[in-house]
Symmetry: C2
Subunit: 467 residues, 2 copies
């Protein structure tokens, strides 16, 4: 019978893992190692999670499942720390106990053993960095965390970060479905690199080659041309960029929106901005515990925003930066340091961590960006910023095939490669605009964290593909 | 100024596109082609969508945006068909009208022109196939539809299919979030092909190679080991399988669940089955219009299910099939025809289109499947079926590194390649189970459609990578 040898072996291992109880151990009937749970039985016994132990259960006799975290042993479960010195940290236990100040009744069984040596200590992993520096106590560096992500994700900080990230997705969708948007699923394997072929990953596709989509934009736009009117999607986005910065990943999660409008792309900008505001408000209301937990390890100012969202035009931003001593041409894009400085200036002047920068120079935006009809050097495009870093880039798209062809030629793009894209607009296309939001960046900046790898469960960058 | 030449050109084209109005055209001030909408203005004028025109608006003067579908011109907007014979089908219009039986007031402007010849006719695209055969009237074949997906997606049938699909995702998440699950995001680019390397797409990753994930399973399991307890994700899944069938795609959307349990994997099976039931009920309640619309073109019996879900064990299914004349060994897997036959037999006997088949032979399941402790030839694994086709495959997973190693060796898998996977369980892992659901299959089978390409917006198979 498969598994028998392994289980025997394992039980032996378990016995060895426990130190021999003292000869005068009065409790030896009350603990042990259970056989591997292979769904042998369906006992009636209710099993409570440690986190669900509340005052209401005082004086009840309950069975509890918990993991041994010496770092968490305090208050009413201090006894665990004492009794279980023979059990290695990170094992999983079933415990029968009466929750009272003087515990007089308990049974404890191991259901999953951990290796005796952990590659990182949870105590160290949740220590604020400033403590570490001041007191010389250990913290855990990022590569050690990421190499041992399963353990690092057990910290209360990681749990809070990713529960809040789940909340961002939920609020994004709730808000958009409420607004009448339809969720779409767009393909990630594509036949041609739509924006000219730079920074794209190549896939072997049977006997030929394909590419990984750098964004769902073309497909969102096709849905608009197919009269879906308002669409969104959440999915992976791939960028073969050799950027080793705090905010670039080669694979990240895009929250994407596209919407037909009646007269002016600001109709779309307002919907996107309101969606962000609903996310910020929802996080404040529903995820206060998570926000507080993260701020214990990574202290930061609460995230501030205005309602309605502040919208600045590019020339206004330029003037603020120039006044602060930055030298820039009218048609230059913002550098990362300029973006951060602008964030600080906007915060001082308007007291908000979130704003829209509208009307970028046409020259710095992609070929499909709609030119501003009133100013030849300007475009109907916008970025959105959180704490001075870009989290969304968007625009009114050119929906006329002839103008699109002209703009592509102006950018020196091979028309043959984007033929399918241009052809999508030949059978009647409504004016539309949209944008793509980086989920990991939103999570990072909302919580005031400093590296996007803290907000990607299993980050991918030019140097990291594991775990 | 960019765009000027193109716009001029385009307006000329638009003028040519319209047939010359007759000399005695009394309404010539009331129609025309508007300049390209580049967000020039923000008029106060409210613009209603055609689908939102209701009786409440009778006798009001409203501006409407609509697309010219001659196929849809009936009842109160029959006049469009007559007046607009000079405008090509699929243009987008702004129309001022008073909704009354005798329309006496209107203005009509084109805001987006379509090419005069459409590659497929919407009338043909929504015709039930049986009509086509009986009456000799045209229908549209699948490749023509998929080659011109933007137009095909405009049919009321396609709109209904994909709005319902959006609803499936929404109901799946709503139910799981309600049950305390956390949404996770798992990487699609992975460093090693976890299940041995068959059917996996290779990606060029900077100077080395990587792979596209065949499922998020490893990452879901790592989240369970990291104490997230109950997780789900929705995302693309890649299979480099050269299968050209009605139900295989090389890229599809997986709805994935993984959950720690207390004593028995049926705790998880029950949660998954209940999630499916909540989806079926939600679709019935919220998407009745869509279901009716699709059934006009593709007639089918309403989807039936039981509450709680029927769970059969493999030997029971085997007995039913043998009684129906199928020859099968005790440890054989079900063939596709056997699955379909079983679906019919179960429907006859239990009157349900949805059921669980539990306790598959160990020999036909992957190495990480937990063996049944009471029967060496059986495993703690299950499939779920809709209308006789598999939509979910799942199991209790082996959470003990030693047993996992033994099982992998039994399957002849190179341990070096799955080291990271096995190591995930070395620091305490709770017993857990899960499964993956194919979104396109659920949509197809719920609606009684016959090809998964009808329920994938932009399907990918060995022969199709476009659009």
């Amino acid at each position: 019978m498969p598994g028998v040898a392994a289980r025997k072996n394992q039980e032996r291992k378990r016995e060895n893992a426990m130190e021999q109880p003292a000869a005068d151990d009065y409790a030896k009937e009350r603990y042990g190692v259970l056989p591997l749970i292979q769904s042998q039985d369906k006992p009636d016994r209710v099993l409570v999670r440690v986190k669900d132990l509340t005052g209401e259960k005082a004086d009840e006799v309950v069975w509890v499942r918990g993991r041994v975290h010496t770092s968490r042993a305090k208050g009413k479960n201090i006894f665990l720390k004492m009794v279980f010195e023979w059990v290695c940290t990170n094992c999983i236990l079933h415990i029968l106990l009466r929750i009272k100040e003087n515990i007089c009744q308990f049974q404890i069984y191991v259901i999953s053993l951990a290796e005796p040596r952990l590659p990182l200590q949870l105590d160290d992993a949740i220590r604020p960095e400033v403590d570490g520096e001041e007191e010389g106590r250990a913290t855990v560096n990022q590569d050690t965390r990421l190499d041992n992500r399963v353990i690092d994700l057990r910290t209360c900080t990681s749990q809070a970060v990713f529960r809040l990230q789940s909340g961002i997705c939920q609020l994004f969708r709730e808000t958009l479905i409420q607004k009448g948007f339809v969720e779409i699923q767009t393909p990630k394997i594509i036949s041609a690199a739509s924006e000219g072929g730079a920074n794209v990953f190549t896939v072997s596709y049977f006997k030929s080659n394909a590419y990984l989509a750098q964004s769902p934009q073309l497909y969102k736009q096709m849905c608009i041309c197919a009269d879906f009117d308002k669409v969104f999607c959440i999915g992976p986005v791939f960028r073969a960029e050799d950027s080793n910065t705090h905010r670039h990943l080669t694979e990240f999660v895009g929250l994407d929106i596209e919407m037909a409008f009646n007269y002016h792309y600001h109709e779309v900008v307002d919907e996107i901005a309101d969606t962000m505001v609903q996310i910020f408000k929802g996080l404040q209301e529903r995820f206060q515990t998570e926000i507080q937990t993260v701020s214990k390890q990574f202290p930061c100012e609460p995230f501030k925003f205005l309602e309605p969202t502040l919208r600045l035009e590019f020339p206004e931003a330029l003037a603020m930066l120039r006044e602060a001593g930055v030298e820039m041409g009218d048609e230059d894009d913002l550098s990362t340091p300029s973006e951060k400085l602008l964030g600080r200036l906007v915060k001082e002047k308007y007291d908000t961590d979130f704003y829209i920068l509208d009307k970028y120079p046409l020259a710095v935006r992609p070929f499909y960006t709609m030119p501003d009809p009133k100013n030849p050097k300007t475009s109907n495009s916008y970025d959105m910023f959180m704490r001075g870093e870009e989290i969304l880039s968007g625009a009114q798209r050119v929906h006329d095939p002839q103008l699109l062809t002209e703009r592509a030629m102006h950018h020196g793009i091979d028309l043959e490669k984007i033929k399918a894209y241009i052809d999508s607009f030949r059978f009647g296309a409504p004016p539309h605009a949209g944008g793509g939001i980086g989920l990991e960046r939103v999570t990072m900046l909302y919580l005031g964290l400093s590296n996007v790898r803290q907000t990607s469960m299993f980050p991918r960058d030019p140097k990291r593909l594991t775990p």
